[in-house]
Subunit: 445 residues, 2 copies
């Protein structure tokens, strides 16, 4: 049995509803990756129990990046100041012609490093060559749910290969890596393929992670072409019944909410507001309606080709800011609410709603220890406000996943960061090379 204790930290308590609070001077006791007790600090520590120093630090549930395409860190800054259609058609999808398993492996390695160092202990991914992403996650020690992506335009063989890729990831039997099915979106995957995906999901016990209703234009276009909204497409094809994580949902209509409510026990939404602002989407994930419908929402970054970071602190801060503005109500999306989105909400989005997302007895010990003593955070009248509005990812000092210290004093414990960054720098030019021509897909949504 592995036993450890995080000693002398403060602990952020995130209840299922109501205000978050901070308990000072705690010890977090861990056995085989599970929190077994949270006590006042100062008890004697028996021999054989690893001690993690938490003095002066605030223990926060490890954050979840609820929607990303991790290997796209290799495209960071390579497609700026473009609208969504040109971003896809002139840059991203032509670049992805160059994808190789090696590029995905290197990109995912860098992404896992960036996220762990920022206290992101779980990420929910949607991309190609997911076996390579599983390898990077396993090496760095981060938790991940991986959905191998497919488009209908490439035919049923690619679709079936993506299902097989999910099965193969599951067959690896990695403790911290799960798989989902990853149809790209209703506008790039046929109804027949969505139906087939729902069947496979139910038969094999997978969840489905896909983009849907990303913009209001997509919803309008769906209504004009098909007579139904993207959410209605997900219902009639059985995707909602199978259980879905929906990325973005900025085009979810009020009339879609009662539909989603019927599947509230197996539906979650990932919101990535930096992307909606940067792409001038003109709408955002409808948090208020989703909350009333009982649908959990997590915070995400989307890929770094548009978000430029995988920083969930940035994402949660923007959720608070954008929501207050969107609802014209400074009292909405409180510091407690947005911390809940990024922890419990993210855990649910990752399919881990009962296992991670809170520092409670019985949950996995996924913990970010945050330093609130830096000049940009001091003085701390309210540590919850500090987490939402002042801290930077660089204030994360030590990170545990499953009770294992994977970041210690701002350094990865398992892997060599210099090597990871060096490889990324070396291979990135191959990925952004547009000389071959072609594209993996055309955006016309």
């Amino acid at each position: 049995m592995r036993r450890s204790v995080v000693r002398g930290c403060a602990v952020l308590v995130v209840p299922e509803a109501g205000e978050c609070s901070v308990e000072p001077d705690r010890d977090i006791w861990i056995e085989d990756g599970v929190i077994t007790a949270i006590t006042s600090t100062g008890q004697t520590v028996a021999e054989g129990i690893e001690v993690v120093d938490g003095a002066g630090l605030l223990a926060v549930p490890g954050l979840t990046n609820s929607h990303t395409h991790s290997p796209m860190v290799l495209m960071r800054g390579a497609a700026e100041d473009l609208p969504l259609d040109r971003w896809f058609n002139e840059r991203i999808w032509p670049m992805e012609v160059n994808l190789t398993p090696q590029l995905v492996r290197v990109g995912a390695g860098l992404a896992c490093a960036e996220m762990l160092l920022a206290g992101v202990t779980t990420f929910v991914d949607h991309y190609f060559h997911s076996d390579q992403i599983a390898s990077a996650a396993a090496e760095t020690g981060i938790r991940a749910d991986l959905a191998p992506t497919f488009f209908s335009s490439n035919g049923p063989d690619e679709r079936d290969a993506a299902y097989d890729a999910a099965r193969e990831i599951r067959a690896l039997g990695l403790d911290r890596v799960t798989a989902s099915l990853g149809p790209h979106a209703p506008y790039t995957v046929s109804d027949a393929d969505l139906e087939r995906t729902a069947e496979v999901a139910r038969a094999d016990g997978f969840r489905i992670h896909l983009h849907a209703a990303e913009t209001m234009e997509q919803t309008t276009s769906s209504q004009q072409r098909l007579g139904v909204t993207p959410i209605e497409v997900l219902e009639r094809t059985g995707v909602l019944d199978a259980g879905a994580l929906i990325a973005h949902g900025c085009g979810i209509l009020p009339a879609d909410l009662p539909i989603l409510e019927r599947y509230a026990d197996r539906t979650a939404i990932a919101s990535c507001p930096k992307v909606y602002l940067k792409m001038a989407i003109g709408a955002t994930t409808p948090f208020r309606g989703l909350r009333e419908a009982g649908i959990p929402v997590g915070a995400g970054t989307d890929g770094a080709a548009v978000h430029n970071t995988l920083d969930v602190w940035e994402a949660l801060r923007l959720i608070a800011l954008v929501e207050k503005q969107n609802e014209q109500d400074a009292t909405w999306m409180t510091i407690s609410d947005v911390l809940r989105v990024a922890t419990r909400g993210g855990a649910t989005a990752a399919g881990l709603g009962t296992e991670t997302g809170a520092l409670e007895v019985g949950r996995r010990a996924d913990i970010a220890l945050v330093d609130l003593n830096q000049p940009h955070v001091q003085p701390v009248h309210d540590p919850r406000a500090a987490l939402v509005y002042s801290t930077r990812a660089s204030d994360v000092v030590t990170v545990l996943v499953d009770g294992e210290v994977v970041v210690h004093e701002r350094r990865l414990t398992r892997t060599d960061l210099t090597e990871i960054v060096g490889q990324a720098r070396e291979v990135a030019p191959q990925l952004v090379d547009l000389s071959k021509g072609g594209a993996v897909q055309t955006y016309d949504a």
Copy 2:
């Protein structure tokens, strides 16, 4: 003569219009605080010239915080999730009853530390006990323009004392500290006092720094009460003619733009978008109209009682994101444009439009050396995009003001950060204590 060279850095070139660019492998030569040459690196360095290592770093013009109330860092996180009127009336203005010169000195010291460590080399301040802020600025080595604040409700003596405070700061003869006149806003300062301020400004050669048209509601209220907009008030009282830095301007109407255009050579606006989102203001500084009218705009944080940081990187990123969303145009407010706002725009807002804000021969050597080698920034396909969308304030390594190294390897060179933070932590409870009752002002705009 003090001579130094920043050796082997890349240099961000910010032209007056058009795209920014990055020149690799440069040396920046400095004499008595002024840039005298920017050359290819590798020339012999004569004895007696101080060498600042810039290898692997990007030299960026030191950023300007175009509008803040620096001592309010002591209130960080003490007033969350409140609308503007309650934020003022229930928290901020009652807290300011407790202000003392010592509290202001301690708060300003912490603020200067936070800003310098983030590569902010100039701040434009609007607060009480400005002599104490001058002292903190002088001690840490940051550049500052300080406007002693007054309200008409406290009578002409306080108004005149504020003018005198500006004269006294000027009389200190500090190299890096200038003064402006600081009427609070048209809704808290009478027309007669604005007229008097304009007279003093013209007579004594001061600029005027004030809040105006902060929200659309303020503009509507002004029209209903007075028949004119806040900008029209500034014109008819002579404030625009004297030369003004206007904080926020979210309530500037299209009809105000031709007025501002007449004073374009002596008017600037400071935009602090995190505040507009967090306070659910419902509008933002009208960048497009202001650009068409030729009015310079800088990036600001406002006070940390609402912004929670004095991080101008955060402010400039939010300007890009909010502007794209506001104009529904992802191609608007490009990476080059927003870098220009935070550098040249900020310099103009500080009254230093020809002295700082660009790394050019003849300008002051105010430089932030930024590390783009961190995993959250790599790979760097476009260093300009990295600055806007990926870097954190903690990526600033070394900072020069007037050619003097004031931050070296992420540490203040002149002052003891531990002491500054310790003092702030000690005195902050005095400031947020609401037991005395009363308020320095009532918000009813």
